[in-house]
Every structure is written in structure tokens, then in C-alpha cells.
Symmetry: C2
Subunit: 211 residues, 2 copies
DNA sequence: CAATTAAACAATGTATACAGTATCCGGTAT
DNA sequence: ATACCGGATACTGTATACATTGTTTAATTG
């Protein structure tokens, strides 16, 4: 058995992130460390550590002396983060080692599960996340992967809200199969270009929807 | 008069960063929150908040239960961060608004000061930082700029160590004038490409020097 | 004498306490 | 009625306290 001792701050971090994603903590609402600490049964210290990290990640806003609140969805923000991911994900793909058939198979499997998963928007987003993780896991630049994972939290929140409020319940899966085709033909650059374009189009779709 | 109330954690953050850059806290050495708190005359709380942020930035390592230590210089790390900056800085430049003559003049001024500054390595690095800041400040993607600033902390530490230990006392300034020339001709893409190449070459130079 | 272990010490992670501010609410004056 | 003031409340940022865990040292045993 693997004994693991995860710091409380990390658990709290994930908890709040999930609450924000699910919309339990609506955009603009205040996040009080005291209240959270009581609910979670821990002290304010690790809660504040998690909140500070989330503020650094751009999920929360931290005004000095006024505490934290959930950042509002904002056209500019999704555009900014989209531009960054549109550069970084293709970079990660290009830096990757040869993509072995085993990985292609796993990508196909996840894509298929994603296609079958209709109606459960949250699950769709998780599967799409996993698909991208598998796609890029061959990149030796661990630091780049960590950054991508952190950045993706932002569009994920937008996507959650989008699927929730715009009533859509699944993601387009054409993109996945196109990328896969390119990879099967060994055309890494093409696949990278597809990723880049996907971010451009995805951002536009969200921007046109945001209030 | 502008009354400003900077959180202690931010001041501590900058303080530690400077200590690390200057080599006062050598790579691999432990950073004890208690000791720092005593020295700075504050409590452990804001010190720990600063340390956690520095760990997130990759300046420190944080092993659970074993506190913090200054991350060791490592060939892989400079390569990883260099690859990221080599993608992000050109992106920021390409997203920038037209670069006005006023900014070109400021770039020239800083480049000139940099050329005159020989012997003071720390000052050189600061000026090089400022040059890049001015170069990219026209980019409307604030978030990208913040990320670049954070990431640059890593190579800056390597550069500090390099100039200190390899005995070099100034930076090559050819790069700056080449980029400036391209910008004067209005060739933004060329300038971006120069930035990309600079990171590739800079990283190689450091990698060949690191133990 | 080397290896091992246990006990004292020290440092981390978390909890609690405190001081200073912002926020909210009711009252008063215009 | 509305705008302004004052007090009470609540919350943030920082300090301090505590418990657990890692580290070191010294003693003991093979």
C-alpha cells in the first residue's frame, strides 16, 4: 500500500477548483477563507494557501484587504489564455518523442468514449482533458506540461459555463479524429497546426457567447 | 501622495528572489522559514506564503515535510524554460501593436546604457530585462506578459551564476541591435524569429557551461 | 571500532489568536 | 427622501502556539 500524505492545501485547492468549475461558486462571488475552513473542517492557514495559489493561477481575484472572489468570465481573458495555449500545446507536440501506436490506440479509445458520452457535460470536459493529456504526455518538457495543465483550468471553467448555460451537452469530436489522422500519417507539424487552429476557433466560439 | 500598502508576503518574495539571484542563497541550500522570519522581523506566515509561491514558480523545491531548498542549476531546466520563452516572447511580439518610434528610441537608449555598462554583471542583467520589457510592453495580452516575467526569473538566475562563475561581465549586445534593425524596417516577423533563435543559442551556451 | 538505535532537538505543517480595516446598518440632519 | 455620519460586525492579514515529523547526536551493542 502506498501511504500518501497530501498537504491539506493541495486538497483544498482541488476542492475549490471543482466548486468553481461546477458553478457552485458563481463568478464574482466572494470566497471567504473563514467559511471554507469551517465547512472543510480545517484551519484558515491551508485554506488561505490554496486561495493564494488559485489567485496566482488566475482563477480568483485577490484585492488586498478585501479577500478573494471568483474571477468573472471575460472575453479578454479567454482570448489571452487561448492565445497562449494555442502556442504552447503545438510546441509540446512538436517537442514530443515519436508517438507510438500504443498511444494512438489510447487516444482512439478516449475519443470513442467521448463520442459515446452525450448528456454529461462535465464528463465530456474531463475526457477531452484526458485526451489532450495523452496526446502531449510524450513531451519531455515536464515544465511545459505543468504550465499547460495550469493554464487549461481557465478555458475549462469557461467551457463548463458554456455547456451549462448554452445548453450544449457534448463537444465536437471531429477535431480529435483529424489530429489522430495526421499523427497516423506521421505528420506531426500538421497535427500541431490543427491544435493551433482549434484554439483559435474555440476561443472565437466562446467569445461570441460571453455576455 | 500615493499611499501604498504592499503585503508583506510580496516584499518577502522579492527579497528571497534577490538573495537567490545574487547567490547569497546558493543552489541546494535549505531555506528555513523560521530563520528568514527572524531576520526580516516578520512572522512565519507571510514568509511561508512567499516560499510557497517561489516553489510554484520553480525557484525553490518544496519537499513535503522537509521544507524548502534552492533548486539546483540543471541543464534540463534551462532547456525547458528556454524552449517555453522561445515560443512565448515571439508570440508576445507578434501580438503587439505597432511599435512606435518613441518605443524604438527607448529601446535604443537602454541598449546604449547596456553597452556602456561593463563590469557590473547584475546591472547588465537588469538592463537586459528592462530592454525585453520595453520590447514587449505593447502586447495587449497582459497575462502573457506576466507569465513571461515569471518564467524569466529562471534563466535570470542561471545568467547570474554564469556571469559570476564564468567570469564574464557583460552581455552580447549584437542581438539587441539586430532586433532593433528589423523593427525599424517594420519586419515584426523577422524580429520575432530573432528572439526565438536567441533563446536557442542562449540556452546552448548555458547548457555547455553547467556542470 | 562500526553499526544501530533511541532520545533530544529542531523545523515543518496546521491551528488559533489578535489587530487593523472594510462593510453593513441604523440614525440623524439637510 | 436622500445623503452623510457613527457604531457594530465581520473579515482579512499577520502573529503566535502547538503537534507531528524529520534530523542529529550520543550511547549502547555486536
Amino acid at each position: 500500500m502506498l501511504i500518501t500524505r497530501a498537504p491539506i492545501r493541495d486538497q483544498v485547492y482541488r476542492h475549490i477548483l471543482e466548486q468553481v468549475d461546477r458553478g457552485d461558486l458563481p463568478a464574482g462571488s466572494r470566497v471567504r477563507d473563514t467559511a471554507l475552513a469551517v465547512v472543510l473542517g480545517v484551519s484558515r492557514t491551508p485554506v488561505r494557501e490554496a486561495l493564494l495559489r488559485l489567485a496566482g493561477d488566475g482563477v480568483l481575484d485577490a484585492e488586498a484587504g478585501r479577500g478573494f472572489r471568483v474571477r468573472r468570465l471575460d472575453r479578454a481573458e479567454i482570448g489571452e489564455v487561448g492565445a497562449m495555449l494555442g502556442a504552447l500545446e503545438p510546441l509540446a507536440l512538436e517537442l514530443s518523442s515519436e508517438i507510438l501506436p500504443e498511444r494512438l490506440a489510447r487516444l482512439e479509445a478516449v475519443a470513442e468514449r467521448l463520442e459515446r458520452t452525450r448528456g454529461d457535460a462535465l464528463r465530456c470536459i474531463d475526457l477531452d482533458d484526458e485526451w489532450h493529456r495523452i496526446l502531449l504526455e510524450g513531451c519531455p518538457n515536464q515544465r511545459l506540461l505543468r504550465l499547460i495543465a495550469t493554464l487549461r483550468q481557465i478555458p475549462r471553467r469557461y467551457l463548463h459555463a458554456y455547456l451549462r448555460e448554452a445548453g450544449r451537452v457534448s463537444l465536437s469530436t471531429i477535431h480529435h479524429s483529424r489530429v489522430l489522422q495526421a499523427l497516423r500519417r506521421g505528420e506531426r507539424a500538421t497535427a500541431a497546426e490543427l491544435l493551433r487552429r482549434r484554439w483559435q476557433r474555440g476561443v472565437k466560439e466562446m467569445e461570441s457567447w460571453i455576455p
